[in-house]
Amino acid sequence: MEGRLRAGTVLSSDSGARYTVKKYCAAGAQGEVYQVESGGKIYALKWYYPDGATAQQKKCLKHLIARGNPDKAFLWPLDMLYLEGSSLFGYAMDFRPDHYTSIIHLMKRKADPTFYVLCKAAYKTTMAFKKLHDEGYSYRDISFGNLFFDPETGDVLICDNDNVIYNGADYVPVYGTQRFMAPEIVTGKAAPSRHTDQWSLAVLLFYMFMLNHPLDGKREADIRCLDVPAMNMLYGTDPIFIFDPDNAANRPKRGYQDNALIYWDLYPQDLRDLFTQTFTVGIRQPNMRVTENQWLGVLSNMMSCIYACPKCGAEIFYDPAKTVRNEPHSCWNCRTKSAPPVLMKIGKNRLLLTPGRKLYSHHVYSDYDMETAIGEVVQNPRDRRVLGVRNDDKVNWTYLRQDGTQTAISAGRSGAVVEGASIDFGTVKGEFC
């Protein structure tokens, strides 16, 4: 299809660069997206419809461009673009590579990432919004249409950042996407804010993990026409979480909402608790919604506590709640019961010690940096069954044996994984258990 701008059209910009329209890509609610080229580089252009090309929108965009990108995950506005003789405008952003896929593809099973990749994508998404919120901005339109992820690496890209605005601003460019909006927005009681973003983020994460909407249960399945009044009821005036422990009126319906039923029990209790908190008490008390830091804490533990089923190789999440209850871990695929590998507990952070697993900065310093590796689980070259944790950090660690003796672990050296022993990282201690 073709849009309003013809291929070959030349656009001017605030930066002075000239952009040439290469091809039409898609249309959304506010405008059309094109591929444009400038200085030999390909960009994406969002070109507003006449009703969206307002002076306020232009002012917001100029502010965002001047402010700069809070995280590399955002396809942030880079330059304002104009068409000569027209009052319309648009903005250029980096072009999303083809291998990034949407959550809709995940739901249609056209993308099949591993659980680790899924957790990583969820972690990076949450981290991006944390950085945005920390700078006093809210996104206002978190939904599956705006998030893309690499099914191989878990890298994410977030588009449609033109609605980002500082908290408390009078101008409200959008109220959000149906079914992702917080109940207080649906009922018209509040404007978008960080709290409403936290709701939308929780819905998005629920979609990523459960492939279902957290409020789409029996009540939604029984509605033949999901029109505006029905959606207002389900997502605004009378929302009921599908796994509300105190209200079973809206459980997922088998045949319609199988995904939720399949996946809910597969994840650790910690994750389920966060969802339950957001979608029960968090429905009416926005300040009780799960914060980004809470999500990041649980997601980092999930990423660090996946192990392979010894029989079929399927990914299994280690769930500390099961250990507390003395319940065995069983494979969701082949049902084989298995004992998880040795665990390292570092404060609230956990790490299953399997060969090749990285110890990230966040595990030790709780800085949410899950990119910088400061250690790795390695195998003893003489006996591969014996594992050790190698120090790749810049500081020395101390190895504490059960008998109380200590040994320094300098950079490049390893401490053996022995239940009951521990590693003192300086500020925190990591216990093998």
Binding site: M1, E2, A27, R224, K253, G255
Partner: protein, 328 residues
């Protein structure tokens, strides 16, 4: 801007030879001055799908009624409607279309007392999407999944408003926009190679749907024509280019001779295409937008005018014959 809508299903040449009915269906509805909805469905027609013609009819009806309900629900808030279709077009809309089609199929199956018998889909009960109850048993004697297969069909649909277009597709067939710039496909469908196709009757059929939302071409692009055809049309051409050439020829004929001339000739053209091509049923639905035209340009009016002309011609011929006889 004037708009002309026309759709027709013709029985395929091979169906005529075999004595089987046309299993295609189409529907054209003008919802308001600014919105029209058109749909076409191709019943699979194989021996395993003896009621696919009914399934196709239901599919076209379901698409039109769904679009009507969504349009009414947003009550002229075009921005919200476009946003909803863009965001939910891939998810909730195909899900609800599949669900409603299956519900209506079961209801029709039960009302017509076709075999095998099934439970009442409208009865209050713990049925799930595939008619199974919560314990995995069946409310009726037949397995609803098997019943759906008897009605298997594809579905093509378009909601055309003055501002944007929503295109929807499950299974094969083509939706194109033809203008003086050429032929453009409105939606990139999830096609299977060979004779197999995705079907509304399959479990989680919505996952195989393809949609697109794009701006209406606008007054500068007039005249333009949306054409929707079941796979019998494209399969009757040797190549995709040949098919596109035919689409372009239909469009050019509409521009040159008026849409009504094309509409009134379409049945013959499609029958001929089927006979010279793959022999399958062909359905074509057209939505033509032009600056000119009016009441006189509509197909029904054109047919009325032609009938009147023929009648007058017959009348004058008989008068001439009478006069001739008298002279002799």
């Amino acid at each position: 801007m004037k708009r002309y809508l026309y759709g027709i299903s013709v029985r395929g040449a091979s169906h005529i030879r075999k004595g089987t009915e046309c299993q295609d269906s189409c529907r054209v509805e003008s919802l308001s001055d600014s919105a029209v909805v058109i749909a076409a469905a191709d019943g699979h027609g194989s021996e395993r799908c003896p009621h696919s013609g009914v399934g196709a009819k239901i599919a076209a009806e379901v698409f039109c009624s769904s679009m009507k309900e969504i349009l009414e629900s947003f009550e002229g808030d075009s921005l919200m409607l476009r946003s909803y279709l863009s965001r939910e077009g891939n998810l909730k809309i195909p899900e609800s279309i599949e669900r409603e089609w299956k519900r209506r199929v079961l209801r029709d199956h039960m009302q017509e007392r076709r075999q095998p018998p099934v439970g009442d889909p409208d009865a209050d009960g713990p049925n799930d999407a595939d008619g199974l109850n919560d314990t995995g048993g069946l409310n009726g004697a037949g397995d609803p999944k098997e019943v759906y297969k008897l009605y298997g069909t594809t579905l093509l649909g378009l909601l055309i408003t003055t501002e944007f277009v929503f295109a929807f597709q499950i299974g094969d067939g083509d939706i194109v926009l033809v203008s003086r710039d050429g032929v453009q496909y409105a939606v990139e469908s999830d096609k299977i190679l060979g004779v197999e196709t995705h079907s509304l009757s399959s479990t989680d059929a919505w996952k195989k749907s393809a949609i697109s939302v794009f701006p209406s071409p606008g007054p500068d692009a007039l005249p333009y024509m949306f054409m929707m055809s079941t796979d019998g049309m494209a399969n009757s051409h040797r190549t995709q280019q040949e098919y596109e050439k035919t689409c372009m020829a239909y469009y050019e004929a509409a521009v040159r001779y008026g849409f009504c001339r094309v509409a009134s000739s379409l049945e013959g053209w499609l029958s001929e295409t089927s006979a010279l091509g793959c022999g399958d049923d062909i359905t074509m639905v057209m939505a033509y937008f032009d600056k000119d035209g009016g009441e006189a340009g509509r197909p029904e009016a054109y047919r009325r005018r032609m009938r009147r002309r023929r009648k007058m011609a017959r009348h004058s011929a008989s008068r001439w014959n009478r006069r001739r006889a008298h002279c002799i």
